[in-house]
Amino acid sequence: MEDLRFQHNVSARAGGTRRTAIVGVVASGNLEVLVERVLPDAECQLEIKTAAVGFGEVWEAVIADFVERHRPGGLRLSINDGGARPDTVSLRLAQAVRLIEEDEQ
């Protein structure tokens, strides 16, 4: 296991009103993302617990692109990773933001 933590400044607050959302599953080659709207609007935090050790640089690149593309201001994302491929990680992160940006039912 490896723990990684990233902190980014973000130019915009994530849309919508939902407080939390969860996508994905913890399984081999997959991951679970819990997203919570708990931070100041200009901040984004990601905390990663991953089964695959030594992929820090890849995570950094995936997350930098994610922050640039989706502007997840105000969100803390907690990731439980079962060794998912980077493209799967990108997809789950995008799904998590889409879900929290939906209006509450």
Partner: protein, 561 residues
């Protein structure tokens, strides 16, 4: 020179021109002592080999993609080494363990082949260990061609479903390589021995006429067939669905690709399952994917049932598809008996000359676009991909996709003198199993060539034949690249988070994107979040059975009900 002098004539050294035929007749006579008519009992099969095969012979032991002459390979393996040894095996598939046991035992010495799927790890070990003297790894068509020039078999050991007493053979749906092997052997004074599942009064149809078959051995159990082309829709991922959407909208649609060949991976299975849903939504029905050179892929059933597909010619068959094919003779090539007639040599030729696109996956792609399925510990061979995935330099008939691709590659030449280009598309996710990257700086194939001292690295598809690369990150159109460095950046630009991808020049990649060399999902109006399994026309093997109206009978390993 038109006339010979008397001196030339007197210097002629050859006294008979029938040595090969006479030698063949001696072999047949020796074998006949074990036969009643042409029929030899299974228990005498090894003695038949000892009677007919000579040391150093070129032997084609029919190892097709699917159909295996397994009884005859065991019989050959058991020969007395004093009588039979040092054979030169010339066969398309090295598939059964017995195929390699022949080399371990010393029955065979030299190998020319095309494909070694399940034996790929062992064949690599034996090549390194010097157990096998390697001629070359061929493509199917290339090996078949050599059967008629310099690798003509002395003996062919083939497999068929049934024979009549004269020796007419019915190969069943898996005709595959048999007609080619028999043609080369029987018409050049070789001996043809067939193993059959049963001997009948009248065969359902004659795939091989009796006068080309010298001996028949009835096997106690049916020859081995493996389902190689069945992909369970349940295992298709969202990433594969996204790449499939990119391929359909980014390549099938703009080029109007109607005549094509699909590889056997999950990405192309996803395309097959998206045609009736996503393809329909894009209004592409009747405009793309109507004529195929393709094995009977179960994943194509929903597209066939939805009226997308007009015609399919097949290399071989697929386990469980027999009844479905019989009931869909408008689509497949079938005999008077109703069952599929496949033919590997003709279908390979069809894929090479009459298809406008090949799309398939690979294990490694380098910065020039060369691709290979060889890794340092596995030599899987080529099979058909290099012929499917190559421009046919002898092609002369025009078609819309071929002309459009040619114009993109060479906009300056006068159209009437410009060659078209076949679309050769490599599709895959940037990371494969166990996070192994698809893109690499140096192919393992090169390392292997150095280690084994090969003159040629085993490249499956050469970079200059590849026209497009599709990954979840986008479509790279290499036809639009004007030099090697643009090409390299276009490849890096769809290589995702692999080291090759992270090594891109972001500014150059952005400029390539503006020129349409690279197209991202958003450039094609595709939202990656829409890539959902609910888009697949069938989401399980059971769904495929339902689509087929119960005609598709999946083998038990694909059943979970």
């Amino acid at each position: 020179m038109l006339m010979s002098t008397n001196a030339d004539i007197e210097n002629r050294t050859v006294t008979t021109w029938r040595r090969h035929r006479e030698a063949r007749d001696v072999r047949i006579e020796a074998g006949s002592r074990l036969a009643r008519g042409k029929i030899v009992e299974a228990r005498d099969a090894t003695r038949l080999m000892e009677a007919v095969v000579r040391p150093g012979d070129r032997v084609c032991l029919e190892g097709d993609n699917q159909k295996q002459a397994d009884l005859l390979s065991r019989a050959l393996l058991a020969v007395d080494l004093a009588k039979v040894n040092d054979l030169h095996m010339v066969q398309s598939g090295v598939v059964l363990p017995e195929h390699l046991d022949l080399f371990d035992r010393g029955v065979a010495k030299k190998l020319d082949y095309a494909y070694s799927g399940p034996q790929s790890a062992r064949i690599a070990r034996m090549l390194f260990g010097g157990k096998i003297e390697l001629g070359a790894v061929h493509t199917y068509l290339e090996l078949f061609a050599r059967y008629f020039i310099d690798l003509t078999p002395h003996v062919a050991l083939i497999a068929a479903v049934s024979a009549d007493r004269e020796g007419n053979l019915y190969t069943g749906p898996n005709t595959e390589d048999t007609p080619t092997v028999v043609e080369a052997t029987a018409f050049k004074d070789g001996v043809v021995i067939a193993q059959v599942n049963e001997i009948v009064d009248k065969v359902p149809r004659v795939d091989i006429p009796a006068d080309r078959v010298h001996f028949i051995v009835k096997s106690d159990k049916p020859f081995f067939v493996e389902p190689l082309f069945t992909r369970d829709p349940a295992a298709i991922t969202e990433g594969q669905i996204l790449t499939a959407m990119l391929a359909i909208k980014g390549i099938y649609a703009p080029y109007g690709v109607q005549r094509l060949n699909h590889g056997i991976g999950f990405s192309t299975a996803a395309i097959e399952l998206l045609l009736p849903t996503y393809g329909e939504k894009l209004g592409l029905k009747g405009k793309v994917a109507s004529h195929f050179a393709l094995n009977p892929h179960p994943a194509l059933i929903p597209a066939i049932e939805s009226g997308w597909v007009q015609q399919i010619h097949s290399f071989g068959s697929e386990v469980g598809m027999d009844d479905y094919i019989r009931a869909r003779s408008d689509i497949y090539f079938t005999g008077p008996d109703g069952s599929l007639r496949s033919n590997r040599a003709f279908c390979q030729t069809a894929g090479l000359y009459a298809c406008d696109m090949f799309i398939g996956s690979t294990l490694q792609i380098d910065l020039q676009g060369n691709s290979s399925t060889v890794t340092t510990s596995r030599i899987a061979g080529f099979g058909g991909a290099p012929n499917m995935g190559a421009d046919a330099r002898g092609r002369r008939h025009p078609s819309e996709p071929w002309l459009k691709a040619g114009a993109e590659a060479d906009p300056e030449s006068p159209p009437a003198l410009r060659r078209g280009r076949k679309l050769v598309v490599q599709i895959g996710e940037t990371f494969g199993d166990k996070n192994v990257p698809l893109f690499v700086e140096k192919l393992d194939a090169l390392e292997l060539a150095e280690k084994l001292n090969l003159e040629l690295a085993p490249i499956m598809i050469y970079g200059d034949d590849v026209t497009h690369i599709v990954t979840e990150e986008g479509v790279a159109n290499l036809l639009l690249c004007r030099n090697a460095s643009e090409r390299e950046q276009a490849i890096r630009g769809v290589a995702g988070y692999t080291e090759v991808g992270r090594g891109r020049d972001r500014n150059v990649v952005e400029r390539l994107r503006q020129r349409g060399v690279i197209r991202r999902p958003e450039d094609l109006g595709i939202n990656p979040l829409d890539a959902d399994r609910s888009m697949l026309a069938a989401r399980s093997i059971k769904d495929l059975v339902r689509w087929s109206g119960g005609l598709y009978a999946p083998p038990s390993k694909f059943r979970n009900w």
